[in-house]
Subunit: 237 residues, 2 copies
DNA sequence: CCGGAAAAGATTGCATACGATTTTTGCGAC
DNA sequence: GTCGCAAAAATCGTATGCAATCTTTTCCGG
């Protein structure tokens, strides 16, 4: 064993899959609404933008399509997903089914470290809500999602964690599309209440609060079909 | 409008993505245990086997890796997943969380057509159990999984349906790896009881039965680490 | 001026090529 | 015999090229 055997983590992460890095950046852009739903993501464009070949760009787009953030049409290309109200309802139905259980699991595994991480997360969330800049709303949505992702990671089930990553990403899209007002400030206090229940190990309460929280988020959406799907689709492209 | 404008559906389905077709065949092979866990799936081999280029084979393998049926290591290749006992537990924990809810949703949407489909499914399941051939067990596992997939499709939530497809596929792998005996005959009667509850619209009972059913399946597994992971791994390759 | 067909251009699907990395093989030293 | 090391083979990661398909433009008859 020699000191030279060590590999620097920085090197490793730099050497990490480029497709994955591109996927992450694109996902952030989609969730943050910097890329509007319906936007075409051509392989060539993505490739030149990130300075890779179409092969790599294509792999990144394929990943996003698996996550439901991108819709690909054969021989036509990839587009930022434009979830329908029905799809939005399914996203939240899925979350209502999964997240209360995740809250219960997490309540039984909370450590002081976890509590500290949650407090830091909620602090940041509060800061974004206080801000009133142009992209404050974006940061708000993202931070709110991060709370749920943190919870999923505490729950300790890798599979459910991945499901939640997908659901949170799709939720962000849906909220950006159909969100009405600032439920967020309200959501922030709900997050704090959930954390309180988690800290006390009160899994039942955490679960119930989570269910209501999801209901509140969905209740803030306007999921009425705007003007008939045909017209909407016609105007979209 | 001309009769020549029609495109034949058969042509369309034949023209479907080849990568997807390869993925489906590989998935079947993995779930059926025709491909043992740990088996290397080299891009070149898969490509020549299905008579496509590595590009397409690679895409199929990438999809399977997203589903958790294949594990890929950079610069080393793709291998049939070899789920650890911990992973197996997580699969069933996820199912316990999701499937009772799916049963409730399905109970509220059952139509006579659905009932007929379930009956046909259970008939086939019974036939496979009666058979005592060499690969009867495989068919049994597969048919049992199909029951759960049918239920998920009735529930009417596309997102949850896809989650269930992944969970059922991984369960089949886990059962093949860690399964002890024939819980299956027992499982068959449980499936019939669940269907009965669904027919009666008794969602609570269907949900409870489903939860017990999953518990029974998991209880039939032997999830003790066999002889230390190091040795096991050493023997595996 | 307005369809509608045909050609030009753009984009995807797929195969192949080449450098990089890993694994296997061969061979000499101990 | 086996241990270590270097060369060879195999395999992966990625770029690029070509055919197929879709989109846009152009051009022409009405």
């Amino acid at each position: 064993m020699n000191i030279a055997d060590q590999t620097f983590p920085a090197v490793d992460s730099a050497n990490e899959d480029r497709a994955q890095a591109i996927r992450d950046q694109l996902r952030d852009a989609i969730v943050d609404r910097r890329l509007a739903p319906g936007t075409k993501l051509s392989e060539g464009e993505v490739g030149t933008l990130f300075d890779v070949s179409r092969t790599v760009a294509r792999a990144a787009l394929q990943m996003l399509s698996f996550e439901g953030l991108v819709r690909t049409e054969r021989n036509r290309g990839a587009f930022v997903a434009n979830p329908s109200p029905e799809e939005a309802r399914q996203v939240f139905a899925s979350r209502r089914l999964i997240e209360p259980g995740i809250a219960i699991a997490a309540a039984g595994r909370m450590t002081p470290d976890h509590v500290a991480a949650f407090k830091a997360q909620l602090d940041e969330e509060g800061r974004f809500i206080a801000e009133r800049g142009p992209n404050a709303r974006r940061s708000e949505i993202k931070a709110s999602g991060d709370f749920h992702l943190l919870l999923a990671s505490v729950a300790g089930n890798t599979i459910l964690q991945r499901f939640m990553e997908e659901l949170v990403a799709r939720s962000s899209l849906v909220i950006a599309l159909y969100g009405r007002s600032g439920v967020s400030s309200c959501g922030h206090s709900e997050h704090m209440n959930i954390l309180e229940a988690l800290e006390n190990g009160d899994s039942e309460r955490a679960s119930a609060l989570m269910l209501h929280h999801i209901d509140h988020i969905e209740a803030d959406l306007d999921l009425r079909v705007r003007s008939g799907p045909a017209l909407r689709q016609a105007l979209e492209f």
